[in-house]
């Protein structure tokens, strides 16, 4: 980052600190997105604003909110003869109730990390005698790639490519979180890259229905402080409560209409389990109609019992913004990135992992 940008970031930090300090109590702002969680921690903003603005992480780390049951369901595909499981690297080490994909791989299941689900389609074409299952996780940023892969498999007339969709929609989760009355927020930093697809207007309900200031923000330190500055001003009544798009170079009010149409045609919303939030109606993306023939859940049915909740893990409370990672009794004692106990410590984007790596008060602003 150029030096003058760094100076500007410091000016913003100072202004935010001074204004928020006049509020009588620390303001509570939530970043929904896991990529924001990492960017905020890495930039040092969390500790620089400490005492005046409390930045809490929300349920926007896709692998963190994937339930133990869903991981167990994915692990059950190991029993399909000749199977090739493909997924993003983020999911490999996430523990289900008794194992993880990484463990299954070490036990001999053919599990491959891919950069894009389109790579998994190419694998299915190269090995037509073996079923290739793509384990899809992620929000609206990620789901279009899965939808395109399904279309590509359809176009190539492949009968051995399947998708397990654990894709989720962001807005129902935010509504559920606010509806449960938890988190007591003063503003919400809306996910930047999800918004490139669904559009900034998708978050208009936050000021209009919940009276909550909302800002779509980018991921560089300057993007972050500009969005946070807006939220602080609105929370303190220095400007009307509204929706601000601070990432307008990439985010249009209406989003990407082609991507949204593709999502609507390929998926239908269904009930989904979220770690920390429970079951939320119309929050998961299942395959629709004619595309169900690509649905791994239909092609390879399995009965997977509901697992017993993980003892002592407070990941769910962290995902609702009710607990700061360092307040969990297991944090950095029993649960560390090298020996993670819960998913929020496994994923690089998990709030616990970000706190563990960057949590120190001495963390500097990137310049």
């Amino acid at each position: 980052m150029p030096a003058e940008k760094g100076k500007l970031v410091r000016q913003y930090v100072e202004r935010i600190r001074q204004r928020a300090a006049g509020g009588g109590r620390p303001l509570r702002l939530m970043e929904f997105c896991g990529t924001h969680t990492t960017a905020i921690s890495r930039s040092g903003l969390r500790s620089l604003l400490a005492g005046t603005v409390e930045l809490v992480s929300g349920p926007g780390c896709p692998v963190c909110v994937t339930s133990d049951w869903e991981i167990d369901r994915m692990l059950a595909y190991s029993d399909v003869p000749g199977v090739i499981l493909t997924t993003y690297g983020d999911l490999m080490r996430v523990p289900g109730s008794h194992s993880s994909l990484a463990e299954r791989r070490s036990e001999g299941t053919d599990i491959r990390v891919v950069y894009s689900p389109l790579d998994a389609v190419a694998m299915a074409e190269a090995e037509p005698d073996r079923p290739v299952i793509f384990l899809g996780v992620g929000f609206e940023t990620t789901a279009p790639a899965t939808a395109l892969a399904i279309r590509e498999a359809d176009r190539r007339k492949l009968t051995n490519f399947f998708v397990h969709s654990a894709h989720k929609a962001t807005v129902p989760a935010i509504r559920a979180l606010l509806g449960q009355g938890g988190a007591r927020l003063d503003g919400l930093l809306c996910p930047g890259h999800v918004s490139t697809v669904i559009g900034s207007e998708a978050f208009r309900f936050l000021p209009e229905e919940f009276g909550l200031p909302a800002a779509v923000g980018g991921f560089e330190p300057l993007d972050l402080v500009v969005a946070l500055d807006y939220l602080v001003e609105a929370a303190l009544g220095l400007r009307p409560v509204g929706l601000y798009n601070g990432y307008s170079r990439w985010v249009r009010p209406e989003g990407n209409e082609r991507a949204l149409a593709l999502l609507r045609e390929t998926f239908e919303l269904r009930e989904a389990q979220w770690r920390g939030l429970g079951t939320i109606p119309e929050s998961g993306m299942g395959l629709r109609g004619e595309y169900r023939r690509f649905d791994a859940e239909v092609a390879f049915p399995a009965t997977v019992p509901q697992p017993v909740p993980r003892k002592g893990c407070r990941c769910g409370d962290v995902l609702r913004g009710e607990l700061i990672p360092s307040q969990c009794p297991l944090f950095s004692k029993v649960c560390t990135p090298s020996r993670p106990y819960g998913p929020c410590m496994v994923s690089g984007e998990g709030a616990c992992a970000a706190f563990y790596r960057y949590g120190g008060e001495e963390a500097p602003v990137e310049v």
């Binding site: 500007l8 000016q11 689900p117 279009p144 790639a145 395109l148 930047g192 170079r249 990439w250 991507a259």
Partner: protein
């Protein structure tokens, strides 16, 4: 997970494009965007999910420049 990186389009061939991502050449899918060589796109999981709005990008840069001048930095 929602990490996405900017890239510049070098050439377009149907639904595929060659792009420059921080000096590396790569093929990406451009089904979801309308692009020409020279455009900047945002890449996630091998597909372009959005095109840079040049006017907004210039407006953002200009706003930061004005702010810096006003603050004397």
């Amino acid at each position: 997970m929602c990490l996405a990186v900017p890239a510049q389009v070098l050439s377009v061939d149907g639904s595929k494009a060659q792009v420059d991502i921080q000096g590396n050449r790569r093929e990406v899918d451009v089904t979801l965007v309308n692009v020409q060589p020279g455009d900047w796109v945002l890449i996630h999981a091998g597909i372009a999910i959005q095109v840079l709005d040049k006017e907004q990008a210039e407006a953002t840069v200009a706003a930061y420049r004005e702010l810096r001048e006003a603050l004397g930095i």
